[in-house]
């Protein structure tokens, strides 16, 4: 996973349990590795661009902490640029599925 992808996953995981957090990260990492090359390349490119943009915002003091990143992701998800919407949706789906499946397994 690229550094920004790791940041996105860390921001989106709701649980504070380190075991859950690392399991979710491992699942997302495996899923990204397993993607078709052209899709992985597209996601990686977007991660670089959006990560650069996020770093610039952070340097300007306009993106502080996980909550701010989650809010930024939400604005991208509902924004006008299709590929950015798809990027957020792809990352979010992986995190949400993994975290809830893990929560379900632990509850059982």
């Amino acid at each position: 996973m690229l550094w920004f992808e790791r940041e996105v996953v860390a921001a989106l995981v709701g649980s504070d349990d380190p075991g859950v957090r690392s399991s979710v990260e491992a699942f997302v990492d495996g899923s990204l590795r397993d993607k078709p090359e052209h899709l992985r390349l597209g996601l990686a490119g977007e991660s670089m661009l959006l990560g650069g943009y996020a770093a610039a915002l952070r340097a300007l003091g306009r993106l502080d902490g996980d909550d701010a990143l989650v809010a930024r992701l939400h604005s991208w998800e509902t924004g006008p640029i299709g590929v950015v919407r798809q990027y957020v949706r792809a990352m979010k789906s992986l995190v949400i599925f993994a975290e809830n499946e893990l929560a379900g397994s632990r509850a059982a």
């Binding site: 899923s31 078709p36 992986l94 975290e99 809830n100």
Partner: protein, 473 residues
């Protein structure tokens, strides 16, 4: 580099490959099956779980057909293929569709009677049945909603056998046809990806493959064969043909059942261990309504599709189940193998008519779920809105646009169509690839169109029919 020799090589072990291997091995032929994915014990993981996604699905279950909108799809990649991961629903190809395809694609001997005979045999071999008792609540909701609205609905049969206590076991290929093939002398090589076919003139003399061993070592293999059946599914089959230099009508004309979903909240608990068996057929074959896998992870993903806050609903996930509306599509797509890339690029173009049908589908599904007693509906539309009353459903007509629709599918077909019309097909009436004497396709790729119902019954019957024709020839 290792070498293997066989009389018949079957590439892929799903609905098409499993049937092919068993029938040819039963006939005394020397059969080798190669499967790209691993051999996973059918009972090793809970159905539709995270672990199953990791071990049995291609791309962790997150593949994508590019288009506007993109369409997510999932397919199995393990011994037994998608039969290991699907819901087991079984629906014979409708007679009207068989007759239509026979006429439109000039398919020899593709009559409802002939297909019916093969379907009878497949059903006897596998075990196809309905539930021995009452349906679970998730399925009963479909029946209840449809009955209230006066819509036709039916409990679909599944490829399941039930014991005296009513416990069902899905009759996947790894539990049925593949053990049968092994018993008749076949060999199955798992974790073995075929890279290309080796051709000499109008014959295929074998394949080049890479086999992963348990320690991670990769062995290069050449497998020589007198006859090759490619049964790798509607995406990988045309990709393999293209990688091997066979491009004529291979990969174009991809068809699917585009699907939209609703996470429906009820005032009572719903089961989550199985997929609902009821289907609403009032609008079939252009539109079918049914239920999806609804583990906690699926429910959370479906709730998240709106992009709206969903913590309150998720806290009540035990009362939520996911349902779908699937359409027959006017659109089509392509599978394109790119040199140097292991995975093909898949594209699909939804038509405006398709979008309109999807909108109609999600509104009808909403009507049905409210009639069944649902109190809150979360559609797979970015921005929603979440609906609680029937008079609010109209908002979805305008909301389901190309940029806001979340569309997915699990049925992909038609990338190497069969028939005698050489301009429109990649294989003859029995799956023999044009201009190749000993190369056949025998999987979902052959279906001339998406059938509007779960395609595995049609795939199995056609595969059995093509095997008999091969043996007779």
């Amino acid at each position: 580099m290792g070498t293997l020799d066989t009389e018949i090589l079957v590439i892929g072990s799903g609905a098409g490959g499993g049937i092919t291997a068993a029938r040819l091995a039963d006939a005394g032929r020397r059969v080798t099956v190669v499967e790209e994915g691993p051999w996973v014990d059918a009972d090793a993981h809970e159905p539709f779980s995270l672990e199953e996604m990791v071990t049995k699905y291609r791309h962790h279950g997150a593949s994508l057909a590019l288009g506007n909108p993109n369409i997510a799809y999932a397919e199995g990649r393990c011994v037994g293929g998608s039969t290991e991961v699907n819901s087991g629903l079984y629906h014979r190809l409708p007679d009207s569709l068989a007759a239509d395809w026979e006429a439109r694609y000039a398919i020899d001997g593709f009559t409802p009677e002939e297909l019916g005979r093969y379907a009878d045999r497949v059903e006897r071999d596998l075990g196809v049945s309905t539930l021995p008792g009452a349906p679970p609540p998730s399925s009963a909701m479909l029946e209840r909603g449809a009955t209230k609205l006066g819509w036709r609905n039916v409990e679909f049969a599944r490829v399941f056998r039930y014991d005296a206590a009513g416990r069902g076991t899905k009759q996947t290929m790894s539990r049925t046809m593949l053990p049968r093939a092994l018993g008749a002398g076949a060999t199955i090589v798992a974790d073995c990806r075929v890279q290309r076919l080796l051709r000499q003139g109008d014959r295929v003399v074998g394949v080049r493959a890479r086999r992963r061993h348990p320690g991670g070592a990769v062995e290069r293999l050449v497998i020589r064969a007198d006859h090759v059946f490619v049964c790798a599914g509607a995406v990988e089959t045309p990709a393999l043909l293209q990688r091997s230099g066979i491009r004529r009508n291979a990969g174009n004309g991809l068809k699917m059942h585009p699907t939209v979903k609703i996470a429906a909240r009820f005032p009572h608990p719903i089961d989550h261990g199985d997929v609902p068996m009821h289907r609403v057929t009032e609008f079939a074959p252009s539109l079918t309504i049914g239920g999806s896998a609804s583990r906690r992870g699926h429910i959370a993903m479906a709730l998240a599709d709106t992009g709206l806050p969903f913590d309150d609903a998720l806290a009540d996930w035990q009362n939520i189940s996911v349902y779908y509306a699937a359409i027959r599509s006017d659109g089509s797509g392509r599978v394109l193998a790119i040199p140097g890339l292991a995975s093909p690029v898949v594209t699909y173009k939804l038509t405006d008519g398709d979008l309109s049908r999807l909108a109609r589908g999600i509104v009808h599904l909403g009507e049905l779920l409210l009639a069944a007693g649902a109190t809150e509906l979360h559609p797979s539309i970015l921005g929603g809105p979440v609906v609680r009353r029937a008079d609010e459903l109209g908002a979805w007509w305008d909301a389901l646009t190309r940029s806001r629709a979340n569309v997915m599918t699990v049925h992909l077909t038609s990338t190497v169509r069969m028939g005698e019309d050489r301009h429109r097909t990649g294989a003859d009436s029995f799956g023999r690839v044009w201009d190749h004497r000993n190369l056949r396709v025998n999987d979902a790729s052959l279906l001339p169109d998406a059938p509007g119902v779960n395609p595995q019954a049609a795939i199995m019957a056609i595969a059995a029919r093509n095997c008999d024709q091969f043996l007779a020839s």
